[in-house]
């Protein structure tokens, strides 16, 4: 058994064709405290073969990752990304919003047109406005579908992002240079 409001929430989430926001779920089920209900439903499914997950503020039921082996058979692998595609995606995810020139500066090579196209087509990145500098370059950022695909609740869950930030590896190179030089000078003074 399960409470009446949770029944409705469960049904809506099972029936949904795409992850839903709390607002959409509240509209569909008429539940007032939708966050509380999502919490309770999530707990009710703990230890089950399916789990209530949140990716980028949208909720959905997903199979438990440890059961992948029984589900994977006879299914085509999801699209294979080229190495350039993987690196470009990582750069966008860890630096967003980021322009094409900035991606190229990190990778040291030009990105071919197909690379960004493939990421856009997969629905993992989206244009994220223009940077107000000469040339007004278009920037890119990741989408909620990206978080969903890689089982990330939010960008904060990107693997190692805190360490990279702390090490200054997500800062622009000029800023890092300045800091490094100041550090060296400081040490020399001592």
């Amino acid at each position: 058994m399960i409470a009446d409001d949770l029944r409705a929430l469960e049904a809506a989430l099972f029936a949904a064709e795409a992850p839903m926001t709390p607002g959409e779920l509240a509209a569909a089920t008429g539940i007032g405290d939708i966050k509380g209900a999502l919490d309770r439903l999530g707990s009710a499914y703990e230890g089950h073969g399916i789990a209530l997950t949140e990716h980028g503020g949208r909720w959905s039921f997903r199979t438990a990752p440890d059961l992948a082996h029984i589900l994977r058979r006879e299914r085509p692998e999801p699209r294979k990304l080229s190495r350039a595609g993987i690196e470009t995606l990582a750069i966008i995810a860890y630096h967003e919003p980021v322009s094409r020139a900035e991606i190229e500066a990190i990778r040291g090579v030009q990105i071919s047109k197909g690379t960004l196209d493939a990421l856009l087509e997969a629905g993992w990145i989206k244009p994220a406005g223009r940077r107000e500098v000469p040339g007004r370059p278009l920037t890119f950022a990741t989408t909620p579908d990206f978080l969903d695909h890689f089982s990330l609740a939010s960008r904060r869950d990107l693997p190692g992002i805190e360490d990279l930030k702390a090490a200054g590896l997500l800062d622009p190179i000029d800023l890092a240079m300045e800091q490094q030089l100041r550090l060296d000078a400081g040490e020399g003074d001592v």
Binding site: A12, F14, A15, A16, E17, M20, A28, T53, S60, F61, R62, T63, A64, P65, A68, L71, R72, R75, E77, P78, L81, R83, A84, I86, E87, L89, A90, I91, A93, Y94, I106, R107, G108, V109, D148, H149, F150, S151, L152, L158, P159, G160, I161, L164, A167, L169, I173, A176, M177, Q180, L181
Partner: protein, 249 residues
């Protein structure tokens, strides 16, 4: 100095220098740097430069085509190497150490993103490790039209229908106009009165109805043109749309 090449350099790998093996000089540099098996923060840039130059030299010795950007990097690294080895010239900006540091930071960043990409790909991925519902019923919102109209629209619409049905009656209203004859008479009389330049509009009585005034302005202008042609009147206008001044000639 450094080992000439501690990379496995099978012929087919060298062949791919300018095709697929490396994605440009930075990628090749990173591969060489990783071969030093130390933290990238501790890397010897000088050793790295040696390795890169040796690698390119060997590729050229094998008469392999080396893409231009690899050669550009080689030239730059050769410059960096000599600058690092020569006694430091404080005049040169940026210093070779700064250039080396910049290269090191770039390698660290590329390496960090390469590793992040690998860790990303290893996560539980939708469609490979976790699955959505295979056959969702779908939540559908059916739009129910709610027609809107108000009473005024309704009544006005009926009025419009009825008006269309009523035979249209065209009434040509009698319009008050000043004839040319009247205007010629008026203008001739007025220029006889004054001696100096006068505004043509001032000849018209002030208490005219707006409709009649418009006609009077037009007619008296034509009348003035006619009188000017007969040599009885002179015109002057200081600017476009300025008052039209007339006097007897």
């Amino acid at each position: 100095m450094a080992e000439p090449l501690n990379l496995p350099l099978a012929a087919e790998e060298t062949l791919s220098i300018d095709v697929e093996g490396w994605e440009g000089p930075l990628d090749l540099l990173l591969t060489l740097a990783r071969a030093q098996k130390v933290d990238l923060k501790q890397i010897s840039i000088l050793a790295l430069v040696e390795q890169y130059l040796a690698f390119i030299a060997q590729a050229r010795a094998l008469k392999l085509e080396v893409a231009a950007d690899y050669l550009v990097m080689a030239a730059w690294l050769a410059y960096l190497k000599s600058a690092l080895l020569l006694p430091r010239d404080p005049e040169i900006e940026p210093s070779p150490e700064e250039l080396a540091l910049r290269l090191q930071l770039r390698l660290q960043r590329l390496d960090a993103m390469r590793e992040a990409g690998a860790r990303l790909m290893a996560r539980d991925r939708l469609g490979r490790d976790v699955f959505p519902r295979g056959d969702p019923d779908g939540l559908r919102i059916v739009k129910k039209p709610m027609w809107e109209a108000n009473l005024f629209d309704l009544i006005a619409a009926y009025g419009a229908v009825k008006a269309r049905a009523i035979p249209a009656i065209h009434i040509v209203q009698r319009r008050t106009v000043m004839t040319l004859e009247t205007a010629i008479e008026l203008v001739s009389r007025m220029i006889g009165v004054g001696l100096d330049w006068a505004d043509l509009a001032s000849f018209l009585p002030a208490d005219m109805a707006p409709d009649y005034r418009r006609s009077a302005i037009a007619s008296s202008f034509v009348a003035s043109l006619e009188l000017a042609k007969q040599g009885r009147l002179e015109f002057r206008q200081d600017a476009a749309f300025a008052p039209l001044m007339v006097r007897a000639s």
